[in-house]
């Protein structure tokens, strides 16, 4: 009895300690983000605490800053193209890797994942050296190509994980019923793979949108993406405008995947609700 109470007390303290540690970790993780967001509404000229008042002036200023707007448009455009192309390449690659047997499959599987493991700086320099070697100019397309290179591994991994869970009998059933391989992919695999396709696209978008180090190497002269724009602004001063810009970045990179996730969840819930009206015969 006493031993049990003793154990209970010990357990309680252990839980308290765990809770305290958890809170500390979360503060450490999110304090910078919260600070950026809060300070973006500060009316003071200097980007720091204490706050002097609430103001939206820095956002207003952003909207007038043609350079920032241009960078935002560039980043958005690059991220959209990257997401589109990467998803197509990634899903097809994942399909080939999970469903077909061919020579060098293992090697290909490893090579596809490699860009995610190699330091970005190395990739940045590597791509530059390569386009130099084939004597190509640094254009926006090179930048997009680079982003695709960076994002493909993640899309492949996400799609592969889902494909492994889709049983082969579905394909065999569709084929036996008369659907060609292409029709089977379109009618059976793709719908079942949809969550992974959406997740992959969102992931690729985010990876492209907030990529900094590799973009620094690849961007053509005079072109700024959002992260590089922030970096160049930081060189001049720590203006509260940067906080506002940072908040916009956070909104885009966190908000879009979140929105996509919610959308998917809503869709599956709708379907499940349809199921719960079942009547056993």
């Amino acid at each position: 009895m006493t031993a049990a109470t003793h154990g209970d007390r010990e357990g309680k303290w252990a839980w308290r300690l765990t809770g305290f540690m958890t809170i500390c970790v979360y503060i450490f993780m999110f304090a910078p983000i919260v600070a950026t967001v809060v300070l973006s509404f500060n009316s003071s000229m200097f980007g720091g605490f204490p706050m002097t008042g609430f103001s939206l002036q820095w956002y207003a200023k952003l909207l007038q800053n043609e350079q920032v707007l241009q960078a935002f448009r560039t980043s958005l455009w690059i991220a959209l193209v990257t997401a589109g192309v990467t998803t197509i390449i990634g899903v097809i690659t994942a399909y080939a890797l999970t469903r077909f047997e061919f020579n060098g499959k293992q090697i290909l599987g490893t090579l596809v994942i490699l860009p995610a493991l190699v330091p970005e700086t190395i990739l940045g320099v590597g791509l530059l050296v390569m386009i130099k070697a084939v004597d190509q100019p640094r254009t926006l397309w090179i930048l997009i190509l680079g982003h695709i290179l960076l994002a493909v591994p993640y899309v492949v991994l996400v799609a592969q994980a889902r494909l492994v869970g889709i049983r082969r009998v579905y394909e065999e059933a569709a084929l036996s019923l008369g659907a060609s391989r292409a029709a089977t992919f379109r009618e059976v695999i793709l719908p079942l793979l949809l969550p992974a396709v959406v997740a992959g696209a969102l992931l690729a978008f985010t990876i492209s949108f907030d990529n900094t180090s590799a973009s620094l190497f690849w961007r053509p002269a005079g072109v700024e993406t959002m992260p590089t724009q922030i970096l160049s602004m930081l060189k001049i001063s720590i203006s509260p405008e940067i906080n506002a810009l940072g908040t916009v970045m956070i909104l885009v990179t966190v908000g879009i995947p979140l929105l996509g996730g919610l959308l998917l969840q809503g869709l599956t819930r709708l379907r499940r609700r349809g199921n719960s009206t079942e009547v056993e015969q």
Binding site: R167, V169, E172, A173, L175, S176, L177, G178, E278
Partner: protein
């Protein structure tokens, strides 16, 4: 080792090249599916060796055997899901070696149902018709008819996840037969169902097959399913055909010791011939007893022989032929029937499944058993039937 049912089918070259699909429906003597000396190998492992079989139109043929015997591989080779390494397969007289699965016109039912989870029952069943360019109103009509046939009318709008296992398998069956395929392939379709549902589905499948007159090839490891449903049973072992015949033939007159053992766990009693005339032989069992059996041909004295004796043919009690005495080592009461395991000496154990008359004989007690000389089958030294 092709048996009686495999009659060489004469097909002229021009007919077998694939142009004959139109008259396939009316071809009378042409088998629905025919294997000619096929081998199937996975790398170095040969799963099926020199398999030949002609399956008559409209029949229900079961491939029966333990797991790994190649039965599923053969079924999948008809569908085109595995490649054959030698020989040829014809469906309705048309060689299908180079025809991809989606052009073979076969209905496939899987153990795991494999209904498309994101499609409604209607879309699932209509799938095959859609790829055969059937007009929309006709699709609706035929899907309705197929659902009626599997006794799930009006379930068009449901999703597979809303149905029980048995219902899903019925929908899968409807999906496989709605476009009137050349042959219906059933890959252990009852194995995922619980016992009650299995029995019901067994009757259902057989009924639908009769009604539609479709050729069905059924794969199972369950001898009860095979015996109760089939017109012909092909017993498989280690990639080879052991025996083909009607359920009765295969059960009553097993051709090999494997068949005898696999179907119904027969008693295999080893012994040697001590005397033999044209019809009867006296056999000295390894356990010491002498029994007389009916032999289809004279046997030379001293030949080693195995007597195949079904547990149901073992009689318990007095006043019977071939009397053997032993001791009960286990007795299981099945209500009306008892299964005894009887030690008759020299580590020979006989299983007897007998109708319970009076009291059950408890474990450890002495027991008298016997069997009719005509109620058994003889196998020679090589394990094949004496005939």
């Amino acid at each position: 080792m092709p048996d009686t049912a495999v009659s060489p089918v004469i097909t002229s070259r021009s007919e077998s090249t694939g142009t004959s699909q139109a008259n396939a429906g009316t071809g009378y003597e042409r088998p629905a599916v025919e294997f000619r000396n096929i081998d199937i190998a996975y790398g170095k492992f040969v799963a099926v060796r020199d398999f030949s079989l002609a399956i008559p139109r409209g029949s229900f043929v079961t491939l029966l055997g333990p797991s790994g015997c190649g039965k599923t591989t053969i079924l999948r080779s008809i569908a085109g899901l595995v490649d054959i390494s030698r020989g040829q397969i014809s469906i309705g007289g048309r060689r299908v070696d180079d025809i991809p699965i989606y052009k073979r016109n076969i209905g496939l039912v899987f153990q795991s149902y494999a209904l498309f989870p994101h499609k409604s029952v209607f879309d699932n069943v209509a799938f095959g018709l859609k790829y055969r360019n059937v007009p929309k109103p006709e699709i609706t009509r035929r899907v309705g008819k197929a659902l009626e046939m599997v006794r799930l009318p009006g379930s068009e709008k449901k999703l597979p996840s809303q149905l029980s296992g048995g219902q899903q398998q019925r929908i899968a069956l409807a999906r496989a037969i709605v476009f009137e395929p050349e042959v219906l392939l059933l890959d252990e379709p009852l194995s995922a169902l619980d016992a009650n549902m299995r029995e019901e589905m067994r009757v259902e499948i057989k009924k639908i097959q009769k009604e539609t007159g479709i050729t069905a090839i059924f794969v199972t490891h369950d001898q009860e399913e095979a015996l109760s449903m089939s017109d012909q049973i092909v017993v498989m072992n280690a990639g080879m055909m052991e025996q083909i015949g009607t359920p009765e033939e295969v059960y009553e007159t097993p051709r090999t010791s494997f068949v005898a053992d696999f179907l119904g766990k027969a008693n295999l009693l080893a012994g040697s011939v001590t005397a033999s005339d044209g019809q009867n032989a006296t056999v000295a069992l390894k356990a010491g007893q002498r029994v007389s059996v009916v032999s289809p041909r004279p046997l030379s004295t001293g030949t080693d022989i195995t007597i195949v004796l079904r547990p149901q043919k073992v009689q318990v009690g007095a006043g019977i032929e071939n009397r053997l005495s032993g001791r009960v080592i286990s007795a299981s009461y099945l209500g009306g029937n008892v299964i005894y395991e009887i030690d008759i000496g020299e580590q020979t154990v006989i299983r007897a499944n007998s109708q319970l008359v009076g009291k059950m004989i408890p474990e450890g007690e002495a027991i008298e058993i016997g069997f009719d000389p005509a109620g058994c089958v003889l196998l020679d030294e090589t394990g094949s039937r004496v005939s």
